[in-house]
Amino acid sequence: MSAALFQLKPDQSPQKRWWNNQELAEFYRVSDIMAQAGLEVESESGVSDEGEPWFVFVRSDTGEVIAHFAIIDGAFIAVSSVTQDLYRGTDIRNLIDQLVDRHPMMTPPSSNGKVVLHPSIILTAFVAAAFVAATEEVRANTLDEVLEAALSLKNSDKSNSTKETFETASAEETTNTINEDSIKETNTEIVPTFHDFDAGKTFGSSFALLGAVILALEISSRETALANTQQVKSSVNFQMLADLNIAEYVPVPDFLTSNNPLTANDINFNDISNLGNDSQFQEPILNSFLSLKKSNLTLTTDLNDLYRGIHVSKMTASDNIVNSADTVSHSNSDFMKHHHLDDQSLSQTAIIDSNLFFSSDTQQANKTLISENSEQKISLVAIDVVSLVSGTANNTPQPVNTFPHKLTNNISINDNNPDFYSLENSLITSFSSGTINRDLQNPIDKERMEDKSSNTNPIEREIKLQSDNIKGHIISPDSSQSLVLDSSIDILLYEGGDVSVSNFELGKDRVWFFLSEGKMYESYQITDANDLVLEFETGDTLTLLGVLDTEAPSLVI
């Protein structure tokens, strides 16, 4: 590091100033977003002996400073306190650009090619990554190192595939990646290195920071959805919507069937509005549908009733709805090339709401690994499927995020289309929601928590990070058949097997799928016990017990 950086002609330094209201608003918004995501941070500001302001985010649980912002000699500074990565811009916008340039995964792609970013979103991604990085396991790792480790492929030629992007990857990580080849041959070609439990630090850091990034992506997705929906509403292909025989795909709302297809004439763009508030990142929906949604949801607490006759679904994407993807490239590296598939490409069911309600609920990053004999493309995808189930979680009228009609998965892309990467090789799906009620003061919740220690049949491998906030569970065919989650933010990394999961909390816990071709998600069922049973091509099932139970206090979303 050089201390000369800020010794820049003091006589020409800009006039000292305090944070302006907009900047402070950005900071406090970051705190709000973090809190919603379950990452509690405190903040503190001060002024240097030269009168220049600083602002820090502090982990509430440890008191550790995780991110430092300052205005020094007129430059806007952001520092990850753990990694000491420093960013400097002329203003907050310029700083954001630098963050994006250096970590393009933080950028929420846009279905219309226009990325609409609120500065606080990128700042949140930055702080969120710093938050999770502030554990012993991940200490001293840079974001790039972590992402490199997380996304490395076994049997890959890293010198060819990642040199350009991840020049900072450590030799240790490389060794760890290579040494795990024998762990699981079935996924040798396609599965990231999450199996590497001998490399605890590598795994922990990868898991934590990847989680943070995806968390940020999820957050940014919601935020971007607001702006993008406002922008791209005129570009929605309503004819495509009308042509769909959406009754073949479930779940679909009763009022929107093949006999009553949605047409452009039904849409009054003036009705599109943000019914939520900014702090909750609620997606805009059509006002005209609001009453229908309310009536459906408030009168129905039984999901089976809501989806009468269509309990089982199988979704595939047809070629004609594979939209020409917008590719936002922020760098020349393969991995950093952003490739956002319009939601239309995900599933026909999703088309309806994706374009009209959730214009950007899917985030994807691709990486191409080139070796001598082959070229592999993998993708990391974060998909928000909260609307599948959130509607049953609260009987009170809640106009947004209460429309259980979407399950996106098993993405099938036309491999002949050079514009698309195959998503079948690697899929991360995230269950998430907007507002999270994590109040464990409820006696039922407390009882649940107390019971866990006694009846938990430990899953084969469990990664518990220092923070106590995020806990990873690897679920594989060799794992135990049951798993009881606790109050942590539990992230299930599902690789296969028949597993039942208790206490999965919508909006807080997440499921990521690491599945290879032939093992992909196939369908789901909702049982009478309000279990969500995800079925896979292998016949394996992942059951989230009682996750749709409207009586469960933990499901208040």
Partner: protein, 111 residues
């Protein structure tokens, strides 16, 4: 157990108070040397001098691996400097390592 894990065991308010006292002490050392925060930052090789201000108000801590350079920058002997910092930042281990030291940490800053 790591210092971070131990720090979690401390009462949060106590830990915060100790860091504030550490900051006051560090500030007094800097001012005694007639160093500005920017100058001290230069000496301890920190790019953003506002970090010094942050430390001096008790937010964050002098990184363990930087204690020696901080001591030198402030003209202090390394071991006593590190020992006293330890009493602020890691009081549990401090008492284990220096059981003979009967000091009331909260009074140190006023000494």
């Amino acid at each position: 157990m790591s210092i971070y894990a131990q720090s979690k065991q401390l009462n949060k308010d106590d830990s915060k108070q100790l860091r504030k006292e550490a900051g006051i002490w560090l500030r007094s050392l800097r001012e005694a040397r007639r160093l500005s925060q920017r100058q001290l930052a230069s000496r301890v090789d920190v790019e953003y001098y506002t970090f010094i201000s942050q430390i001096e108000v008790g937010r964050g801590r002098v990184p363990t691996e930087r204690v020696e350079i901080w001591a030198e920058a402030l003209g202090e002997e390394v071991q006593p400097f590190a020992k006293r910092l330890m009493s602020y930042y890691d009081p549990i281990n401090y008492r284990l390592v220096f059981p003979e030291t009967d000091i009331k940490i909260t009074d140190q800053a006023n000494n």
